[in-house]
Each structure stands twice: as structure tokens, then as C-alpha cells.
């Protein structure tokens, strides 16, 4: 990672401003995070209050995005839904990044038996189709938000582990690592003080790109009825309602979908930009 000096930060900002896609992504994401943070204050209506408008009312001046079958305001539900859909994705990625990084650091640094065992574990996890792993976990743990985070997160662990393992193996060879070992620094302290900062760039890039996927996957589980349960607004389960009323109320299907798409496309545009800036090795992968 480049040093966090002011000039380094300024340079990054200038590069961001020259990349219109990433710039747009950053703006949309900032707006979304604001909505997610302040959604319940900004929302024009209570998202779970029924009958604030007519049932299945088309978009008009009072209800910009229309209303659902219980007469709930769709705009308010989407705004408050951002509070769930974004954190579920972020939590799933954090879960994957945390355990994947630990596994990658351990296998890459210790080598030997730890590596052969850990690498086998990584291969086995990659051998499963991701959605099967997620559905298997839901089948065992049951339906619910926390279980969705775990189910989506576990699929990401081997991907983080593989990249961190590779980066750790090359960082291990540095002279300062040898020096730290020579003065008797403990292995885990050395890993966190000297190796981790060196493998941070690929982790950040992968985490950004994986966030988009995690949001899509967890919303798909919501859509299949395995995530957040109604009446709590979540974009995936809202789209499942939209599917039921497709013939009569297009807005129920269009607006939650657009929100989801805009979120993920912004994250991916920003992720592509970060990949170019932080980690030239990952380019074109």
C-alpha cells in the first residue's frame, strides 16, 4: 500500500477524478451509505406501516416509488432496506476476509505440514459450487439473517486464503522479516506487524470486489425466502414480492432491482479502480 501521506492521498484522489466510472461509483456509494445511515430519519413514511397509501398504488407525488400490496410506501422500504442489504454483504465479506486471511497467513508463513493441510482445506472448499455451500449451510443452520452472513461468508474464505497465502510466501523472504525473526520476535507478532501490512493491498482489492458478489448472493438468498423474513424490508425479499405482482405493479419489481444493481455496479467500478491503483499483479484476472 502506498504510504498514507497527504501527497499520496492527494495523488489517489486525482487518479480517482480521472476515472469517470470509479468517480461515479464513489458518488453513488457515498449517497447510499448516507441513506443507509440515516434511512429511517429521511424516509417519508414508516417502512412497515400498512395503509399509508392505497394497496398496489402506482408511483405518484405522495409515493414516488408507489406502494406495495399492503399499502406500504416503497421508497421508505427501499431506503430502510439499504440498512440491511449493505451491512449483510459487508459482514459476509468481513467474515470471509478475516478467516481467509488467517488461513492464508498461517499456510503461507509456516509452510510444511500446516501448509499442506491448509492448502488441502482451501482446495476442498473451492471444490464446492458456491451456492451449494451456501444452501447447505442454510439447510443446517436454518433460515435467517445471521445464517445468511455465515453462508455467504464461508464461500469467500478459500478465495482470500489463496491470495493471502501467495502474498505471504513472497513477503516471508524479505530481509526485515529475517531480522525480526533473528531478534526473537514471536511468529504471530511478526505476522501481524511485518507480513500483514505487506499483503494488505490484495486483501483490500479482493474485499471490494467480493463485496459486490456477497451483496448479490445474500440478496438472492433473501429472494429465495431463506434470508431476512418479511415484514422487515430487505431488497432481495422485496423483489420476491415484486415477482408475485409483476403483471399488476411493475414498480415493485423495478425500484428494488435498480437499487441493488446501482449498489453492486458502483462497488465493482470502485473495485476495478482500486485493483489498478493498489495491485498491478491482479490486473486482468
Amino acid at each position: 500500500m502506498p504510504p498514507a501521506t497527504l501527497s499520496g492521498f492527494g495523488r489517489s484522489l486525482r487518479r480517482l477524478s480521472r476515472n469517470p466510472g470509479a468517480m461515479a461509483g464513489a458518488c453513488v456509494l457515498t449517497a447510499l451509505l448516507l441513506v443507509a445511515a440515516a434511512g429511517s430519519v429521511l424516509a417519508p413514511y414508516d417502512p412497515t406501516a400498512t395503509g399509508v397509501g392505497v394497496a398496489l398504488g402506482a408511483p405518484d407525488r405522495d409515493h414516488l416509488f408507489g406502494t406495495d400490496r399492503y399499502g406500504r410506501d416503497l421508497l421508505s422500504r427501499i431506503m430502510v432496506g439499504a440498512r440491511l442489504s449493505l451491512p449483510i454483504g459487508l459482514l459476509a465479506v468481513s467474515f470471509a476476509a478475516l478467516f481467509g486471511t488467517l488461513l492464508g497467513l498461517a499456510t503461507g508463513y509456516f509452510g510444511g505440514r500446516v501448509d499442506s493441510l491448509g492448502s488441502k482445506l482451501i482446495d476442498i472448499m473451492l471444490g464446492f459450487p458456491p451456492i451449494m455451500l451456501a444452501l447447505l449451510i442454510i439447510a443446517v443452520l436454518g433460515i435467517g439473517m445471521v445464517n445468511v452472513v455465515v453462508a455467504v461468508g464461508i464461500g469467500g474464505i478459500p478465495r482470500f486464503a489463496r491470495i493471502v497465502r501467495g502474498a505471504t510466501i513472497s513477503a516471508r523472504e524479505n530481509v526485515y522479516v529475517e531480522a525480526a525473526r533473528a531478534v526473537g520476535m514471536s511468529a504471530w507478532r511478526l505476522l501481524f506487524r511485518h507480513i500483514l501490512p505487506n499483503v494488505a493491498a490484495p486483501i483490500i482489492v479482493l474485499a471490494t470486489l467480493y463485496t459486490g458478489r456477497a451483496i448479490l448472493e445474500s440478496s438472492a438468498l433473501g429472494f429465495l425466502g431463506m434470508g431476512v423474513q418479511p415484514p422487515t424490508p430487505e431488497w432481495g425479499s422485496m423483489l420476491s414480492e415484486g415477482r408475485e405482482f409483476m403483471r399488476h405493479a411493475w414498480w415493485l419489481m423495478v425500484f428494488p432491482g435498480v437499487s441493488l444493481f446501482l449498489t453492486v455496479v458502483s462497488i465493482n467500478l470502485l473495485g476495478d479502480f482500486l485493483r489498478e491503483v493498489l495491485d498491478p499483479r491482479l490486473r486482468g484476472t
Binding site: 471444490g127 464446492f128 419489481m253 441493488l260
Partner: protein, 306 residues
Amino acid sequence: MSSYIVRRFLGTIPVLFVATTLAFLVLHFIPGDPVNLMLAGAPASVELRENLRKMLGLDLPLHEQYLNFLTRAARGDLGISFKTRQPVAQVIAQQLPATLELAAAGMLVGVTFGFSLGLTAGLRPNSVVDTVTMLIAIIGISIPGYWTAMLLIYIFGIKLGWVPIVGRGIPALILPAIVVGSFAVGDIARLVRSSIMEVRREDYIRTARAKGVPERRVILRHALRNAMIPVVTLIGLQLGLFVGGGVITETVFARQGVGKLLVDSILEKDYPVVQAVILLVTSGYVFANFAVDILYSVLDPRIRYQ
């Protein structure tokens, strides 16, 4: 070559072992008693419960149950569905053709479009075609597949009425195939593009041009063949996307298929079916990846010697 195949085949065993073990444990991890689930709340005497328990083999020690599960699975006996009381193998066999049909059609769409887009873009980097392709690629990986499906159903099925949205047969397969394919178009196009751009800089391409090989032949014989190598691997990895795409697409289109069966069985707690589908799909995926690896080593002899 044969030693590579053997080595690669042995590598599939741990995954299959873990998959079977996990599938076996599903029934033992779930909260509650499988016998209760099978009875679905119907009143039953203690005797009947004990009989059911014996019938399911739940009275045996865990390791014996596991061995029984393995031997029965190897013989194609996957238990009885809690819901329909039919043999699970029969339930799955009814759904399998529709899923294979969808996966094949989806793969055809994904590979054809992904490949042509990536090739056009890679041959003319930074042109309009290139920009549009990259835009399609980034949209492809950012759009929720089930939402694409809903939009297509709404526009082409309901508003325009061009294609039927239910039933079997080719016309009803068009939209679902596009959806399943769209999961992969973006990734394939991006990889083909970067692969072509990289190969075009190689010395052997310059040599081919210098000795007067027509451009068309340079692309087809020299560039494309080498650019194919990473693409074949990717398609192998994408099989997982086709599987996942199947689960979601079948649900949105309310189509028959193994994916919809799995989703329904999880929601209805029909665990013998869940076990069997997980086992089947994971083994299918593992063997398909095995086949891709073999193909990979045929395309690129360097792989075999590593």
C-alpha cells in the same frame, strides 16, 4: 499424460469425501428429530416412532449409519422423500433432464456471447466496441440474475408476448437460457479480451505476420488457440455459476429442475432430498472440473509436467 490424469483423479477424492460426509451430517445437525419431520406433526404411537427410527437406521451407531449411507448411495439408493414418500433417486431423476437442458443451453449462450464480445474487443482495444463490451461485462457481473430474469419475463413474455414463459420445449427455454448464460458472459468476455491482448504481443505472432501468414490465419491459428487456454479453465470454474444460475433461474421461471427441487426441499425440510441433491450436484461439479483439467492439459502440454 496418464500419470497426470491419475494424479488429478486422486485429487477429487477428498472433495467427494467431504461432500458425502457433509451431506450425511445434514440429517444429524438439524435441530429436532428427523422422525418428527417425517411424521410432519401427525400423531403417532411410541411403537410407530421406534419402527420409523429403525427403518431410517437411526437406531444404529453413527459410524454404522455413515457406512450404510455410503454403501446405499453407491448403489443409487438415496432414501425416501419425507414429503412425497417416493424414492429420492426417482424424484431427482424426474427433475434432472430439465436442469441439464437448461445448463447446456445457458452455457451455449454464455460462451458464444462472451467469446464473441471478448474477441471483438480484444482485437480492437480502446475502440467503441471495446468500451461497449467492457460496459456489458461490468453490468453482467453486477446485475442480480433473478432480476434479469424478471425483467426479461416482463418485457418479452408479458408485454410483447414473443415467447412463452412457462412449459418445456425450445421456445420456453430461450429466456431461461439467456439468464443462465448472462451469469457468465461478463467474466468470459473480460478474460477472452485480456487473453487475446496478451497473446497478440507474443513473439510467435510477430513471426507469423513477418513470414506473411494472412491476418485471419494469424488470429485463428496462432492467437486464438493460445488465448483459449485460460478461457477453458474459466469455463470450468463457471460451472459453479451455471449450477447457481440454475437454482435461481428455475425458481424465477417456476421451471421443473433440480435447483428448484433443492430450494423447495430446504424450505419444506425434506432432508433426504436435500442430502441427495447436494451429493449429486457437488459430484457432478467435481467431475466436470476434472474433465476441464484434462482438456486443459491437452491444450497446453506444459501443464502436465508441473
